[in-house]
């Protein structure tokens, strides 16, 4: 008898999936540290981006204060906070920047680092990344 039969795998899978619905989750915005937390994450994110040779040049002519404020609004809104994003559509913002997968991933890595710097736990990181990942289709133009 072997203990790792397909049935056992299915059981593991079912167990894992049942975990999803077990408890109501806190508001993502609060898990990110609300207004103060999101602002700190965005500040660190911009620092990480400007430090990364793969993408820093894309921000040469960016008004960084405005970028900071708009990104705070956007993360606040998608995470369920009391904000409304007042910036332009993602597609319009990125269509002339010739962004490839490499640069998109560099931004994802910068965001992960910024969240790690602010001691955001993995579960909260994943909740935010999952909400932002679909922007992939509007941002990658190459």
């Amino acid at each position: 008898m072997t203990i790792f039969k397909p049935k056992f795998l299915l059981f593991c899978l079912a167990l894992a999936l049942s975990g999803c619905q077990s408890k109501p989750q806190s508001l993502l915005y609060d898990a990110l540290g609300a207004d103060d937390g999101v602002k700190l994450i965005v500040e660190d994110f911009i620092n990480e981006v400007l430090y990364d040779k793969r993408i820093a040049h894309q921000f040469n002519s960016t008004d960084l204060d405005n970028f900071h404020d708009k990104l705070v609004e956007q993360i606040c809104q998608v995470s369920g906070g009391p904000c409304v994003y007042s910036g332009k559509e993602m597609k319009a913002l990125h269509q002339d920047l010739n962004i490839d997968q490499r640069q998109f991933n560099a931004v994802v890595e910068a965001l992960i680092k910024a969240m790690q710097n602010n001691n955001v736990d993995v579960a909260t990181q994943n909740r935010l990344l999952n909400l932002l990942a679909p922007m992939h289709q509007d941002i990658i133009t190459k």
Binding site: T2, I3, F4, P6, L9, C12, L13, A16, L17, G19, C20, R54, D100, Q101, R102, Q103, N105, A106, V108, E109, I112, V122, A123, T124, N126, R127, L129, N130, A133, H136, Q137, K142
Partner: protein, 276 residues
């Protein structure tokens, strides 16, 4: 040689800045036959951290030890633009009973046809080919295999859920394989009585406990061609620690079932991978 490889790998670990731009973990590790995957099965992702404008590569060293056999593998894989992976693995299968070792070369190619494992709704779909050749045909011939070489074809689908169960990133991979191999080719290909291709299925699930720690399990259906020598499906349960994009360590408990008349072959697997 092991010492040299360790030095090499630790050098790689310190050069993480040279790594490509795929997200950590999305290059998987290298399965024993060389291509990106878990321990026992290839996955639809490609080895090395190249994205669509980069080159990548990975090298690995793996060792499995079960009750009556040991399997050692080493090899490398190259990744062009996250589109095409070329791999090579050298397998050494040693038998406690004192029979000669079986060495096998595996040349592989995997083409990333469409989809992306992380982004979008479609899974990442890849098709792969593996040409395998056993060096010394003595043992495979003795157990009734008809060929010392064979070619496997497989199609592979992988999908990750960034915010899966327990808010952890969760990956599922499924393969369908066409093969004439007996015990993945270590006991040759086909037999006089049974020489056709057979389709078998493979599945893997993995969960990223943290960005660096992955646990998972794999299942590999196996259909041999040798009369009278039972061949069992393979299973493993693994833990992989991704130090960074350049270095990973994988440990697994493996259950290989019956091999060439020796029953219930279970044991441990350890693999080191360097990538960029």
């Amino acid at each position: 040689m092991i010492k040299k490889s360790l030095i090499c790998l630790s050098l790689l670990a310190s050069f993480q800045c040279a790594a490509g731009s795929k997200l950590l973990g999305t290059a998987a590790v290298n399965h024993i036959e060389g291509s990106a995957g878990g321990g026992l099965t290839p996955w639809a992702v490609l080895s090395g951290y190249a994205t669509d404008s980069e080159w990548g590569a990975a090298t690995f060293m793996s060792s499995a030890s079960v009750d009556d056999y040991a399997l050692n593998a080493m090899g490398f894989a190259l990744n062009y633009h996250d589109k095409l992976e070329l791999s090579y693995a050298k397998l050494n299968f040693s038998i406690d009973a004192g029979l000669p070792d079986i060495d096998m070369d595996v040349f592989g190619a995997k083409y990333h046809a469409f989809g992306d494992v992380v982004y979008g709704d479609m899974p990442q779909i890849s098709i792969g080919i593996q040409h395998k050749k056993v060096k010394d045909f003595t043992v495979p011939a003795a157990v009734g295999a008809s060929d010392d070489a064979g070619t496997d074809l497989y199609i592979s689908a992988a999908k990750a859920w960034l915010d899966g169960p327990f808010n952890r990133t969760f990956v599922v991979n499924l393969n369908a394989r066409m093969s004439k191999a007996n015990q993945i080719g270590l006991l040759g290909f086909g037999s006089a009585q049974d020489n056709g291709y057979k389709v078998s299925l493979e599945a893997a699930v993995a969960l990223f406990v943290t960005r660096n720690l992955v646990i998972g399990t794999e299942y590999k259906q196996k259909k041999g061609h040798l009369a009278g020598l039972k061949e069992d499906d393979w299973h493993d349960v693994f833990v992989a620690y991704l130090v960074n994009k350049s270095l990973s360590i994988t440990a697994a408990y493996i259950d290989l079932g019956d091999i060439a008349g020796a029953s219930e072959q279970r044991g441990y697997y350890l693999s080191l991978q360097g990538a960029f």
